[in-house]
Each structure stands twice: as C-alpha cells, then as structure tokens.
Symmetry: C2
C-alpha cells in the first residue's frame, strides 16, 4: 500500500512543478509550487504563530474554487512579499482567473521564521523576497532538489538544521499523493538527541537513513527539547519557528475534501516532530487537488488517502532534515554530521 | 518532567470530578466531568464526523467565559440528550450562570458512534441517554474507574475493544494536566496487530502494559487497519467511529489559550492512533482550565504545558483500551486477551 512515486517528490503528482530561489548570505529563500491547471485547494492552520496570505479564500464556503500556485517563504512576515513576485511572473505568462476582463493569479502563501538564523537580514526598504519569488517561478521544474534550498535554506530545528523536504506515495487506487515542507519547527524531528527520526515507522526504504527506532528508547525520548531553549538565544518566547507545508494529490476532490486533506496531513507533523503545533510554530498545511488522475474516491478509499497524507507528510518532514547540507555561519549542525 | 499525579486521572486537576453511568444491555453509556467552580473552556474539532452541542459558545470571541460540565456520550446523535440530563441534575443543585434571574448551566457535549456494537438500541421514543446523563452526575467522584465504563462502555477500535481512558501529568512548574477520553476510533491504537501501543514512548511506568515498541517494527505497522474494514460489518463509509476527549489543567488560562490547549491535545491522538482524524471519526477535544493552582505560565512554560497535553492525551487513549474488560456479545476482544 505504501510505495513512492518515481521521484519521491511532490511533483509525482502530475501537473505540479516546484521552483526554489535562495540566497546564501541571507540564509533564506522561497519555494513555489506551480499548478499547470488551476488546482482545487484548501488550508488548515494549527500552529499558534502563522504568517499567511490568501488563506481566507481557501475556506470551502468562499468563492474561488481553484488556485494557480502556493508559496512557502522564509523571512517571517516580510517573506509574504514572495507571493507578489510569483504573481508578477504568472501575469507575464497570462495565468490567472478572469475577473471583469482581468486575469488575477491566486497565490496563497505562508512564511516561516528564520530571522535569527545568522544570515544577513539588513535589507533596508525592500525585502528580497519579492525578487526571490519571481526567480523561483523561473526555476520551476519537476526534478527539484531538497535540503538546504528554497524556503528551507535557513530552516532550523531542535539541535539540527532543518530544510526543504518532499516525498510521494502511490496508493493501490492508483492515486498519487505528494508532500512538500519547509521544516523549521521549535521541536525535535529525532527521538531525543539520537540520529533516529520520529517518523521511522513510515519510512520507505532508506529515504531518510533507514535507521528505524532506537532500542531501547533513549532516556530523553519524551523530553521537551526546544530549539531556542537549547541554544539560549534569548528566550523561547522571543523566537518563532514554524513548519509550512503542501499536500497534493491527483485525485478529484471537492474544496471541502481538500481542507480535510490538509487537516489529515497535520497528523504527519505530530508523527514527525515532538512537540509540534506549539504557540511558537505557525504550522500549517496547504492542500492541492489537481484531479489529473480523473479518479474519484469512494468514502472508504478516501480514508486511505487521508491516512497516506499523514504518513507522506511525516516522511517529507524527515527528508527535509535528512537532506540538509552545511553552510557558512550555521547555528546548528546537519543531520549527517550527528 | 513527566510524572503522573497521585491518581493518574483527570481528577488530579483539583476541582474536577467524573461520573459514569452505563447500561450493559445497551452497550453504551455517559461520562460527565463536573467543574466545582466554572472552568474556562475551549474546543477543537478535527475529525470529519463530529456530533456536538454547545461548542459554538466555546469559541474565544463568544461571550460565555466558563462552563459547568462537559459530557461525553455514546449513542451517536441520540446521545446528545445526555447533556439535558446533566442540566437537570445541575439545576437541582442551583448550578449555572445567572441570566436575568435564571441560572443556566452551560454543558457542552459530544458523542461517539456505538450503534453497531451489538447492544440493544431499540429504545423507542425516548433514548436512554438523558437518564444516563442525570445518573452520571449523581455518580461523580474523584476516584472514578476507567475501561469499560461510561461513554467508553460500547467503544471499539480496530480489532480491540475501546474504553474510557484517563491520565495525568505534573509539570515542573507545579501545574497539573489531566485527560479523559472515550476511545472509539476507526484506526488502531496498537502497532499493527501487536500488543504494543503506538503511544509507548510517552508511557509512564507500566500504566498501559510497559511493553515499549516491538523491535523490529512488524510488517503491518504502517498498514491502514480500519475497524469496520476488518470486521466487514457493511462498508467503512456506513459506520461511524470517533474518539472524544477532555484535556484539563489547573493553570490559569484565557479562553483563547484553552482552545490552543485543545489543539495541542489532538497531537496525542496522532501519536496514539493510526490513522486518526479520519472522515469517519468525529474526533474532538474539550479543554478545561480551572485556574485552581493560581499559576500563570510564561510563554516558555506554556509550550511545556501544550506538549504535555499531547503526551497526556496519547497515554489516556492507550489506557482506555488497556483497561477494557470483556462483556457478553462483544464484537471485539479486549487488549488483555491479545
């Protein structure tokens, strides 16, 4: 029931491409998911410190049914500019919903907090995120890299660098589900300080190291290990975190079902990060349903889809940390050096 | 950081008592949490099939700040009558918020689906839940039993009987947090068909068997095992499930913080049940803050509280299944016989 798509990336969902743009000195960046055709979409916010744009229109009772792109960005609230850059790039391609003779691109966006990661944030009047958003659209491709790229460039977790993760699952129904996450939680993705990922039971092959669980569980497994508490960069209250993600499928879903898919994917956060959904994390999930498979799921098969959403998200989060690479001025080491 | 309160029950939060009433022939029942003083409250619904009463007033922007009791009931939507019985009992005690010279008791309630569990549901015009609710108030005590009692009487999970669970945690800050759950999910609380609970990393002592995780993980660990799919009682789509729960603390919380506590406790569902929050589960958590400790938490200490909410809920869910006892006509065996 759980096998990966050919790339083990969100782009295994046909009709999606992903572009990254980032700046090593800034220690931050932008990731965009482009929808070849407008995709039915939803969102669920469960963290306590979200930063978002165009999320209200995603509620099932609101009018817009489908969207053109989703943006994940570093930069805290300044990073919301990235969506403006994506809109500019989409306008040049004449992509948008027609409203009174104009084409308006619908580009929901969310940010993570990476201001305290040691990068140069002294950008003056114009934050760089608008231009990074524009550049990310130009870079969009099916075979994008993960790790220290795009919105995951400056991401940190408890004791380890975070990163951009992605994974996919092909279900018995023929439906593909894929996930993308910029992984920057205040909590830990590993069991205590071990090399073992919390999401180990859901790992396919050795996609994030293949280590399984430690046996016995270490003493610090259930200890509440927090990023800024560990590093003593001020107090936890002063420092945001946040994991922002996209779950996507080629199944045919209603807008309400897309919201349920976003809810289901949050269980992957809980399986991959401890603790998660805290007041310092603006954790949220966007859901995209391209419908490109043409498959409408029975109520029973839909439960499998939602379950796979959680499992795929848990793997995605782990893969983001697993793939991180070192860079100058890093506050935390990468997983591969632990 | 993780030790239990003296009873390892939600009633370790001072000012709360719990009453159960149930009927073996009905294979169902009611559990009530009574608040000695009105408690600040919140709710978060994440399952797809909720059945509720008085949840809208719990939103932070609405007027009622504190409530008098919470009801968990079997009986699907018919079980919402239980709250009426609780209100009748509270009126006799003159408990309620004064509105224009009247005392109105505020009693949010949620139900789980146990109609297909083999009990006698042929109750005619008057469902028995109103009287069970009244009886549950009379039975309220600090030292209540868990397992096959109250709202957990007819509960089922994948392959095992469910039940009523409870647990508590005392934090370093001196704050106590407790949880209560009627555990009736469509998914599995054990790793595949093993005896090992998913929540094992959070277990304190041997409160649910002390078995830890299986090593290696069994082949079916990540298989999507569903209650009605396993038993072939019709199709999954036809059968509801639902885990309904209460998380409580003696910390001083705002109404908004109580909602965040409810959100945080849902991570315990994800850690204890796979899959959870499905369209067939009306999973929800009520949060109660009695303020009886007088302790107001810093932003940093609040993160510990929310993390402990998830851990305590995961233990509570496992303890409900662990404590289930066999009864005539059961569709599923109890954990202790596996």
């Amino acid at each position: 029931m759980f096998r990966t798509g050919p790339r083990n990336l969100i782009t295994d969902v046909a009709g999606l491409s992903v572009g990254n743009a980032d700046d090593a000195r800034l220690k931050s960046g932008v990731t965009v998911v482009l929808c070849e055709e407008p995709a039915v979409a939803g969102v669920q916010v469960l963290g306590g410190a979200p930063g978002t744009r165009e999320t209200d229109l995603l509620e099932p009772q609101n009018s817009i049914e489908a969207i053109h792109a989703v943006v994940l960005s570093g930069g805290s609230a300044f990073g919301l500019d990235a969506a403006s850059g994506v809109q500019a790039a989409l306008r040049e391609k004449n992509i948008g919903v027609e409203v009174g003779g104009f084409r308006v691109s619908i580009v929901p966006a969310a940010i993570l907090f990476d201001l305290r990661n040691g990068g140069d944030k002294d950008w003056g009047r114009y934050p760089p995120y608008r231009e990074l958003g524009y550049a990310a659209v130009q870079a969009a491709t099916a075979g994008f890299p993960i790790g220290t790229v795009g919105a995951g460039t400056g991401a940190l977790t408890f004791g380890l660098k975070g990163g951009l993760g992605s994974a996919s699952t092909v279900l018995d129904s023929g439906v593909t589900i894929g996930a993308l996450a910029a992984v920057n939680p205040t909590g830990s993705v590993t069991v205590g300080r071990s090399r073992h990922f919390w999401a180990a039971p859901f790992e396919i092959g050795d996609e994030f190291g293949g280590l399984g669980y430690p046996d016995p569980m270490p003493e610090d497994a259930r200890k509440i290990l927090l990023k800024y508490r560990d590093r003593h960069v001020g107090t936890q209250a002063e420092g945001g975190s946040t994991t922002i993600a996209v779950i996507a499928t080629d199944a045919v879903l209603t807008k309400a079902a897309a919201k349920r898919l976003a809810i289901a994917a949050h269980d992957g956060f809980a399986r991959a990060v401890w603790p998660t959904h805290t007041p310092a994390d603006g954790d949220l999930v966007f859901a995209l349903a391209t419908g490109s498979s043409g498959i409408e799921l029975s109520a029973d098969a839909a439960i499998d889809l939602y379950a796979a959403a959680g499992a795929t998200m848990a793997r995605t989060i782990s893969r983001g940390v697993y793939a991180a690479t070192p860079a100058e001025g890093d506050l935390f080491p990468v997983w591969s050096s632990r």
